[in-house]
């Protein structure tokens, strides 16, 4: 359990940090220091294990196997876990100070409408996960071909030698396989390549580029990132009320730029 500082509202889980805090913030209280620090140290570890051994019936090993596992996950739980638990507790119920709560930028990341046909697309993917391949086998085979980098000529050979069943797989050559792959990604139009020419006076060199905005659209649209995407800057604080800088959205730049941008916008339709 975190120990609350006797003289202010901060909380500490580690004795070292608490001691330091006492020394700096409450320097005048030298006399009490010696007695308070002792409370902060967590319960003796050895007694901890002792009780855990008591409470959990020990799993008997398998003396015949080479490798042995302790099947009971709680058996050797470290005290670090206990500290983490109390950390979360601290942010959840205790410590009513508003500084602890992360502050989101109001209005940022507001939805202005629904994506057309989103539900449809979602359920299509669930119902037919291997589309446009006709079967799971077809997809897996293609996936194996591509990911293990089998050359085109070998793939053609595979089919021409009759090793694969063209009917059940759904394609019979590299050419048809590629047609499948092209329609595999519904957003591939976003990733289209454009070609440009550079003339540096002596030579003419081609270069390739994509539309940068379409790349952004593509990435934002992927279901894979759905749960991870962050749409708004936020200010985070630790249990001691100190500002935390970690990911990009928790730092100042995004917030500052957000202030400059028009904040709230409802699409008329």
């Amino acid at each position: 359990m975190p120990t609350k500082c006797l003289f202010c509202r901060r909380k500490y889980t580690r004795a070292g940090a608490y001691e330091k805090h006492l020394r700096t913030a409450h320097a005048k209280l030298d006399i009490v220091l010696a007695s308070t620090v002792r409370y902060a140290s967590p319960a003796n570890y050895i007694t901890d294990t002792e009780t855990s051994l008591l409470h959990h019936p020990l799993v008997s090993g398998h003396p015949d196997s080479d490798y042995e596992f302790d099947l009971d996950p709680t058996e050797y739980e470290r005290d670090d876990d206990v500290v983490q638990e109390s950390d979360t507790e601290e942010t959840n119920d205790a410590a009513p100070s508003p500084a602890d709560k992360p502050m989101d930028y109001a209005g940022a990341g507001e939805a202005i409408g629904d994506v057309n046909g989103f539900e449809q697309e979602y359920s299509d993917l669930c119902a037919d996960p291997w589309a446009p391949f006709t079967s799971a086998h077809g997809f897996k085979l293609a996936s194996w071909f591509i990911q293990s980098k089998v050359p085109k000529s070998r793939i053609n050979e595979y089919f021409s030698n009759g090793l694969g069943d063209t009917a059940s797989v759904g394609y019979g050559s590299m050419h048809t396989l590629e047609n499948h792959l092209r329609s595999l990604d519904p957003y591939s139009p976003y990733l289209q390549w454009f070609e440009g020419q550079v003339d540096d006076g002596s030579r003419c060199l081609p270069f390739f580029y994509r539309n940068i905005l379409d790349c952004v659209r593509y990435l934002l649209r992927q279901i894979a990132y759905r749960d991870d995407l962050v749409y708004a800057p936020r200010r985070e604080y630790d249990s001691e009320g100190q500002r935390l800088y970690s990911e990009m959205h928790t730092a100042d730049w995004w917030w500052d730029v957000q202030v400059q941008c028009p904040t709230f916008y409802k699409n008329p339709d």
Binding site: R38, S65, Y76, S143, L191, V257
Partner: protein, 699 residues
């Protein structure tokens, strides 16, 4: 609603200059994970040919190149111009449409590439207008942000290296821009100086650490400690994620990023061992040198934090200032060729002068004069070196932008160039290898396009599965095999590697070469101190000896990763006894053992390092057939009650003469692997810089 576009760019292979794009909206842990597919190739550019310097014919060519480069980037970044101002509705993955402002916010590249794209001189900082002569001064002074606009105004005779209309700040009066063009200038909502990202790999590992090792080698040679350094270097013990050097430092010919990272983790300890027990003339220089290295190593440790508070940032700044304050000790090893030539010339002049003065007659007189001459020569040499040498190189300066950068853009590791090099391998190099090297660009793009489609589908399906969507069984089965996102590993300690030759305490003692009396005594002591009365091991040695015992060689300890409680690193503590490990020497690792409350043993906070002697299980028939998982360890004690040393800031531990042969502990009290650097036979230094976790715990 805004949205960050985050571009990165690498020119490794001379054949290709890929530019990548990814999103700042994705947290870096997700974005930079291999196989996350979040880094898209945005463009594949031709590499402009290199020029020899100061050739006038090439000047025009260089000008044209700079113009084309600017043109190309204008074309690529053009779609951002309007949308960054007004925003654009974009479909998002959760089915909502959001108004997005895609803004270029970071450009990850090494320094030379920044130089090319920002159009600055190679000794200029892309972020601020620091004059070249002050690059090595400490971080206290702030310089105004670089004003790229002034170089692009048409009236200023721009695009010529000779234009001197600006930089009123620079005392030397030379603008630090060469061609006066910044590719990124004029982008909406983008401030070009802010695009520069600090880069651990090139600035710290390949930059400062490399320089620093030169100084240290010079320093060690001067004080005759080079051999001691090599010896300490070779005696480093293993640690998870740490590559144990097989050669002496001086034998290694090539140093790459990976090796330099290794070096940063052990340098302070090795140096502290090499510089132990200085004589009276060496005390002060050694202390300064260690202080300087300590500050830089600590700075680089802090820079790796994934989450900062104002407090940690203040520490970072403080370490950097400390480094700047103490770096003078290495100044004499920063001698340039030009200075050396000057020194030689000075000496020649001095000798010449003396030859013209009449020599005194007596031998003793001559000896005295010669001694004086030598002292004078030395003094003047040092004076000259100290006035001529300097620390003014660009990587020295770039460090001072680190802490401000964290406040603005978040942690530093996420902007590392390494992640781009990963993408490089996947997206470019594989394709290049498979192409026929003729019109390769098209083939590279094509090859990767196919891979991308397949992997993206698998990723999407995998995310559906994690959301608990009902998918056909064969899909789940396939995803289980291919998924790149592995679930959390086991959270408990596992004993592995049973040895077949041990079945009871007598065998056990024979293998360990201890007497069975000692063993029984220790076991009983353990059970008396740690187990409740009714569950204690039998007190009678005869019964104790009959209990079945298994001896094991490996203990897997899950240790929570620093600043990321969901991830656990597995420490594998090996204890092979006298057996060989992988046909090399036997391994009996150092581990941390919980030995008391947090307030004990000073900086060690209640933990003591110990050497594993044996890992074993014992089955207690007398008490419901319970299995006890135990370890024999040899505990060390902290010297100076665990206080950090003033000179090197590390804790020394020792094996006391009167120490018990071993003690028996529960494997639950073993907290993880420890990294100890041997100092003398019975003394070790605790290397707390080995990883961030240890660094944060021992201070």
């Amino acid at each position: 609603m805004s949205d960050q576009t985050h571009l990165s760019n690498f020119s490794g292979d001379k054949k290709a200059w890929p530019v990548y794009i990814t999103l700042g909206n994705l947290p870096s842990t997700r974005r930079n994970r291999p196989g996350s597919m979040a880094v898209l190739l945005l463009a594949l550019l031709p590499v402009p040919p290199k020029f020899s310097k100061s050739s006038s014919a090439d000047e025009l060519q260089r000008q044209i190149n700079a113009d084309t480069l600017r043109g190309v980037f204008e074309l690529i970044l053009e779609p951002l111009q309007e949308t960054a101002l007004e925003g654009v509705p974009i479909d998002c993955a959760d089915g909502n449409v959001r108004r997005c402002f895609p803004i270029l916010s970071a450009w990850i590249a090494d320094h030379m590439e920044n130089v090319a794209l920002h159009g600055i001189k190679s000794n200029a900082c892309p972020k601020c207008e620091v004059p070249p002569a002050e690059l090595g001064t400490d971080a206290g002074t702030k310089y105004p942000a670089r004003d790229y606009a002034s170089f692009c105004e048409p009236g200023n005779g721009p695009r010529s290296p000779t234009s001197k209309t600006h930089d009123a700040q620079a005392p030397l009066g030379t603008p630090s821009t060469t061609i006066g063009q910044n590719v990124f200038h004029g982008l909406q909502r983008v401030s070009a100086p802010d695009l520069y990202k600090p880069d651990m790999l090139h600035t710290v590992y390949l930059g400062l650490f490399k320089h620093m090792m030169d100084w240290i080698q010079g320093f060690l040679k001067k004080h005759g400690r080079a051999q001691a350094f090599d010896d300490a270097w070779k005696a480093l013990p293993p640690y998870p994620g740490f590559f144990v050097p097989k050669k002496a430092y001086r034998e290694v010919t090539q140093w790459q990023g990976k090796e330099m990272r290794n070096l940063g983790r052990c340098l302070l300890g090795v140096l502290a061992v090499a510089l132990r027990q200085p004589d009276s003339a060496q005390v002060l220089p050694f202390k300064h040198a260690l202080g300087c290295i300590r500050a830089l190593v600590d700075f680089h440790m802090m820079a790796q934090y994934r989450s900062h508070t104002p407090e940690t940032l203040a520490y970072m700044e403080q370490y950097l200032n400390q480094f700047h304050k103490t770096k003078e000790i290495f100044l004499e090893f920063r001698v340039s060729k030009r200075t050396r030539a000057k020194v030689d010339e000075q000496r020649r002049e001095l000798r010449h002068q003396r030859a013209q003065v009449n020599q005194p007659v007596s031998t003793s007189e001559r000896r005295r004069v010669r001694g004086d001459d030598r002292a004078e020569e030395n003094d003047r040499r040092m004076d000259l070196i100290h006035t001529e040498s300097h620390f003014n190189f660009i990587k020295m300066h770039l460090l001072c932008h680190f802490h401000d950068h964290v406040r603005q853009f978040g942690n530093i590791p996420m902007y590392s160039t390494e992640f781009g090099e990963l993408a490089h391998k996947d997206q470019i190099k594989d394709g290049w290898r498979r192409s026929n090297k003729n019109d390769a660009a098209r083939q590279i793009l094509h090859t990767y396009g196919r891979q991308h489609a397949i992997r993206m589908r698998l990723l999407n399906l995998d995310s559906l599965r994690r959301r608990g969507v009902d998918l056909p069984a064969d899909v789940l089965h396939h995803l289980d095999k291919t998924s790149t996102v592995s679930g959390p590993g086991p959270r408990y300690r596992i004993l592995k590697g049973r040895r077949g030759d041990v079945s009871d305490i007598m065998d056990f003692c024979k293998v360990l070469e201890v007497s069975s009396e000692t063993m029984c005594r220790e076991l009983i002591r353990y059970s008396r101190h740690n187990l409740p009365t009714e569950r204690q091991l039998p007190q009678d040695p005869a019964i104790l000896r009959s209990l079945p015992v298994e001896l094991l060689t490996q203990l897997e300890i899950p240790v929570p990763a620093f600043q990321d409680p969901d991830v656990h690193d597995i420490h594998r503590a090996r204890c092979t006894g006298a057996l060989l490990f992988r046909n090399q020497a036997s391994r009996n690792d150092w581990v941390w053992v919980r030995a008391g409350g947090e307030d004990m043993y000073g900086a060690l906070k209640g933990r003591l390092p110990a050497k594993l002697v044996a890992l074993f299980k014992i089955r207690d028939y007398t008490c419901g057939s319970t299995v006890r998982r135990l370890a024999c360890v040899q505990k060390l004690t902290a010297v100076n009650s665990g206080r950090l040393s003033d000179t090197h800031g590390l804790v020394t531990v020792q094996l006391r003469e009167d120490a018990r042969e071993f003690t028996v502990v529960d494997i639950g009290t073993i907290l993880g692997l420890a990294h100890l650097i041997p100092e003398t036979g019975r003394r070790w230094l605790v290397n707390s810089r080995i990883d961030l976790r240890t660094f944060n715990e021992i201070y």
